[in-house]
Every structure is written in C-alpha cells, then in structure tokens.
C-alpha cells in the first residue's frame, strides 16, 4: 500500500516508492497486490496441519469457533492497525475493553448485584458503553494532539488509569447480573454465523474500503508517512487523528461488549494483557510500528493466524508446560514464511 500512498494526490513529500511498485506496469501492480496476501500461505499451511492433527478441525462448527473466539481481538487489531498506520500508538485499548462494558452494566443494574445504585434504564447500557469508548479516545486525542504529549506514554498512563477506574467503580467485583441486551450480541446467530462474526466482517469491510478509497482514509496513510508533508498538502491532520483515536476507542468498547456477551460477565481483569496480542497480530499482519505502512487485510490475516494456532494447540492437547513455547515458536515460523513468500523486508 506504500506505493499507492506515494501516487495519491496531496502527498508530495511522502516517502519514496519502494522498488517494484512503480514503473513496472501491470506485473508490478499484481506483485504489489500479492504482498497483501503474504500471510495466506501461512494460513493455508496451518489449515493443512490442523486437518492432519485432528479431523474435527475442518468441521464447520470448529471453524466458526475459531472466528468467534477471535472477534474481540480482531476489533482491537482493526483499531490499533488504523492508529499505527496514522503513526500513533494506543495502548489503552485493552483497558477500554473492560471499563466501557463494566460502567455500562454497573450504571443500569441494581446495587444488590454490585451495581452503582443508579438503576438507569437497561436500554441505556449499550449506548453508555460505546459512548465511554468514544470519550476515552477523545481524551487520548486531547492529551496527544492539543497538549502534544507522547502517544506512547499518554496511552500507557490511560491503560493503568482506566483499569484502576474499573476496579474502583466495581470494587474489584466481577459483574454477573447482566441486562439481556448485553448478552444478545455475544450470543446471537444471524444466518448461521455468530452475530459477532458478522459485525467484525462488516467493520473490516468498512475499514478496508475507507482506508483504500476515501479521501480521509487515504490521508491516514499520508499522516503516518509524513505528518508535516500531509499538513502542507492541506490535510487537517489533527482532526483526522482525533477521529482515528475516537474510532479506536469505539471499536474497543464494541469489542468489550462482544466479550461481555460471550463470557456472560464482566471480569475485573477483562482485556488485561490483550494489548500484546493485539500488537503481535498487527505486526505479523505487516502493519509497521513506524506508521504509514500496512493494510487492514494483512492485520486481519494476522488475527486469523493467531486464532488458528490457538485452536490447533487446543485440539492437539499440547501440555500446559509447553504451550507458550510452541505458540511463540509457531508465530516466528509464520513470520519467516511470510518473509519468504512476500520477499519484502519487515520492519
């Protein structure tokens, strides 16, 4: 996608095109597209290995499980990928996954079930949850864009603050008594697939189209590539970045909502530690930590790779002592495979 960034209007100061993208005509274009698919061979290999290890792997039920178990992670990766492409960081997403649904639930359930005692109408729960996500993103944006603080440290601080707020508001309790609206999205099935899978599919489709073909989406790449050049070219960089942070918060709250529904409770540690997996998936999927590079399709492939590995390790019954070592090892192999098949240096 770097290639298209360079040729897109309004980014004269963008990074120079990498070899192969420009000036090679149709074949170069095809090769560029192929690089989006760098992880596909790894995914195919995992599918073959999975099928060999356990025949039940290829059953529709099992593959649906893999997709459903990855929905929350995939929404976080979508959010993080867009933010990384814009050249920023957001570590606080994992805490939003816990705080947003926890507050949404605590404000509407009675105090007897560990609620806050406000007893607001249950219909407000989900809007509150999503609103909190947006507010967190907006606050991150305020600190980073207005006060010019480092995105890394701001969101690291927010990660801790938000988790602390959740524990403070709920007194560290898990929330068990959930309104039905919270359970619905995590459990419903639409046309044979879990609702959460449709939601994620839709979110990625919108993201891919927006980043690929819309002016604001393209400007995210421009900002991540060279923010000064983008500004000089007339992109309202702060406004775009602020929007990106708010969308990131919204997606994290949505992920929290789905996870709450699927697990039937809001754990005090919900989402804790997820951010490392989020970064792993994004980077395996080819999103650069330096900004301006990577595709959402690639990030989605990264999520699928991690999900398939998890599933295969469970099916194979790998012993608890070794599972982490094998998990990490397979990720490294997948990365190498992607490097070999795409021929592109990773960063």
């Amino acid at each position: 996608m770097t290639e298209t960034t360079v040729t897109s209007p309004g980014t004269p100061g963008g990074p120079p095109g990498t070899a192969g993208g420009t000036g090679r005509g149709p074949s170069g274009l095809r090769l560029a597209r192929f690089r989006d698919l760098a992880l596909v061979p790894a995914i195919l290999l995992l599918v073959v290995v999975g099928a060999l290890i356990e025949p039940a792997f290829l059953s529709g039920d099992n593959l649906t499980n893999v997709l459903q178990q990855q929905t929350e992670l995939s929404l976080l990766v979508l959010a993080e990928a867009v933010i990384l492409i814009a050249g920023k960081f957001d570590l606080s997403l994992e805490s939003t996954v816990g705080l947003a649904p926890a507050l949404g639930v605590a404000l509407v359930i009675p105090a007897a079930s560990n609620g806050l005692g406000t007893d607001w109408p249950a219909a407000l729960g989900i809007p509150i949850c999503l609103l909190i996500g947006v507010l967190v993103g907006a606050f991150n944006g305020l600190l980073i864009l207005r006060f010019k603080l480092s995105a890394f440290i701001v969101t690291l601080g927010m990660l801790i603050v938000l988790r602390g707020l959740q524990i403070g508001f709920t007194g560290g309790q898990n929330l068990f008594a959930l309104p039905d609206s919270f359970l619905y999205l995590g459990n419903a099935r639409w046309v044979g697939l879990p609702a959460s899978v449709w939601i994620c599919g839709l979110a990625y489709a919108i993201g891919i189209v927006a980043l690929g073909y819309f002016r604001h989406g393209r400007s995210v790449y421009a900002i991540g590539g060279n923010v000064d050049a983008a500004r000089a070219a007339g992109v309202r960089t702060d406004r775009v970045l602020w929007t990106v942070f708010m969308i990131g918060g919204l997606l994290a709250a949505l992920a929290g909502l789905l996870m709450t529904g699927r697990l039937g409770s809001v754990a005090a540690s919900q989402g804790n530690g997820m951010i490392f997996t989020v970064f792993a998936a994004a980077v395996i999927g080819g999103v650069s930590l330096d900004g301006g590079k990577g595709t959402l399709f690639g990030a989605l492939c990264g999520v699928l790779v991690l999900g398939l590995i998890n599933n295969i390790l469970t099916l194979a019954g790998v012993s608890a002592q070794w599972i982490q070592a094998i998990y990490g090892g397979i990720i490294l192999i997948a990365l190498m495979l992607a490097r070999v098949t795409s021929g592109k240096a990773q960063d």
Binding site: L156, M259, R262
Partner: protein
Amino acid sequence: MRSSATIGVALSALTLTLAACGSSTPSSPSASAQGGSAAAGGKIGIDFPRTDSDFWNSYNKYVPKLAGELGVDLMPPTNSQNDVAKLVSNTQALVSQGAKAIVMAPQDTGAIATTLDQLAGKNIPVVTVDTRPDKGKTFMVVRADNRAYGEKACEFLGEQLKGKGKVVEFQGSLSSVNGRDRSEAFAECMKANYPGITVFAEPTEWEGTKASAALQTRLTQHPDINGIYMQAGGVFLAPTLQLLKSKNLLVPPTDPKHIFIISNDGIPQEFQAIRDGQIDATVSQPADLYAKWALSYAKAALEGKTFAPGKTDHDSTIVDVGGGRLEDQLPAPLVTKENVDDPNLWGNQVG
C-alpha cells in the same frame, strides 16, 4: 521488536513508580481496627494480594473486621495488585512504619524469598496466607490444602460419572503453587482411581476467555464431554455457564446430557448455580478462616508463642513442610446441593 521491548521497560518502570506511591497509601477499611486494644508486641502490617477477584475481596473485608474482634493492632493494609515488585516495596514501607509482624499472600512464590530473608534478619515474623513461599523463613503458612481440592474434585467427578467419560479441566496458572497443587493432585487421582476417564487439561492462566475458547473447541471435537473441573469459580463460572447455555447443554442433573461440574472457591455465585442445578459442587476456600488464622498467628508470634506439627484446636493440621517450616492446613469443605445453604459457609455470609 524494539518497540515491544520499550513497552516492557516503560511498563515496569511505571509499575515501580506506582508501587512506590501505592505503598504509602492506606486502604480505607482499616480505620476501625485502629481502635482495638494495643496488643503486646506491637503493630501488625498486612498486604492484600489483589482486589480484582471475589474471593480476595471477601478476604480483604474479613481482615479489618476480625482484627477488631481479635484485638490486633493492625496497620492500614497495603495492596500489591498481584505484583511481587509491589509486594516487596509495600513490605519495606510497612516495616519502616513500624510493623513488628507481617501478613502477606505472595502470589509469586519464588520471587519473595529475598524479602523473607531480610525480614528474618530484622526478627520480623511473617505469616503467609494462601500460598507457601518456595524458600525463605516464615513463622506460619496459613493455607487450605490445595492438593485436597484436586483430589476432592477428582473423587466427586469419578463417582458422578461412575468411572467413565471425558472431563475438561481448567488449570490455573502452573507458575502458582495453588494451580500446580490442584492440577497434580487431580491428575494423579484420576490416573490411579479412574483410568476410564479421559482428562483434557486446558491451560488458562486463570483467564476466563482462554477457558471459554478451550471448552468451545473441545466440545466441538468431543461432543460427549460429561464433566468439567474448574480450578477457580470466580473466573471460570460465568464464561462456562454462558457457553453451555448457548450450546443448550445447561440441563438438570437428571438429563442424560447433563455435564457434571465441580468448581473451587465457594463464592456466592457458585452457591446460586448449585441451587439452580447448573453446577454440581464446589470446594469452599475459607476466606474467613484465612483472615482469622493469619491474624491469630501473627499475634501469637508477637506474644512469643511457638507451634509444633500436629492437630490443632480448629479442625486443621499443622504440618512441617520441610526445613522446620510450618503450615496450618485449613479444612476446605465440599459444597453440594445438600449443604449449600449452610450458614457457616463464608459464601453465605457475604452480602
């Protein structure tokens, strides 16, 4: 990769800073204990291991209450949030504030050893709750017999399933002594007594999401699974019930499709699930006894009392776990439909 390293460094730097701040901040509920009669020997410092689980929240509530009843001069408790680095700095802060005895619950049982040595050097007796440090001097370890949890779960499932079937086990973190003890005892008992039962041990690191994903996958692979052992009800109960509900497997014990479930912890939600016929049993981990005996032993240490291995006056056994280290193994009752309404269970005493 470099960025992840930076994340790590920054994270640990930040947690250290926070720990430093946190160590001097007293938690609120202790104020009531301050008025208790100043016992002989001086103040007792206590560190809570975490505030994000129902079990530990109950323990945290029992401590100031029982301190008042026992007449212990309790200092404002600190909270180490499941982080051994914070526990170390909290302990140092408590000592510098004048603690003569320390009660702690180190969740990382290896890394606390040097701190224990330092405290021993200052003649400050330490009582640990729930976990037994791998090394280092302790006055007393107050702990339920976690191997018994695994054995009770194994016997219960073995009997209910009549020695045949497939059982999913949600293992706790194997880096914690409690997760290890429960997993080992369960595995040994199953192997010795019920060879007809296949056990699928799922590593979960005490995380509900991992347990849910593993169970979902396993049920697809083996739809005839008929037993589940979860090593911590607080984290696994809701995800398990939610998943079984969505698969229409949450049926009463009389139905042949019923999956027999035994849990560990004894929180109120588990009791409710037992009453509703959703799960079959749990082993109640005694939060109240933990608080009571931890404080009692700390007080006794200051009064110069000593203890020897053998039966105690409160239905438990003090055992020498090696090197002269004593451990008071408190009883952990099995709770089933028959005794779930027993008012003596701590899960029935919390609101």
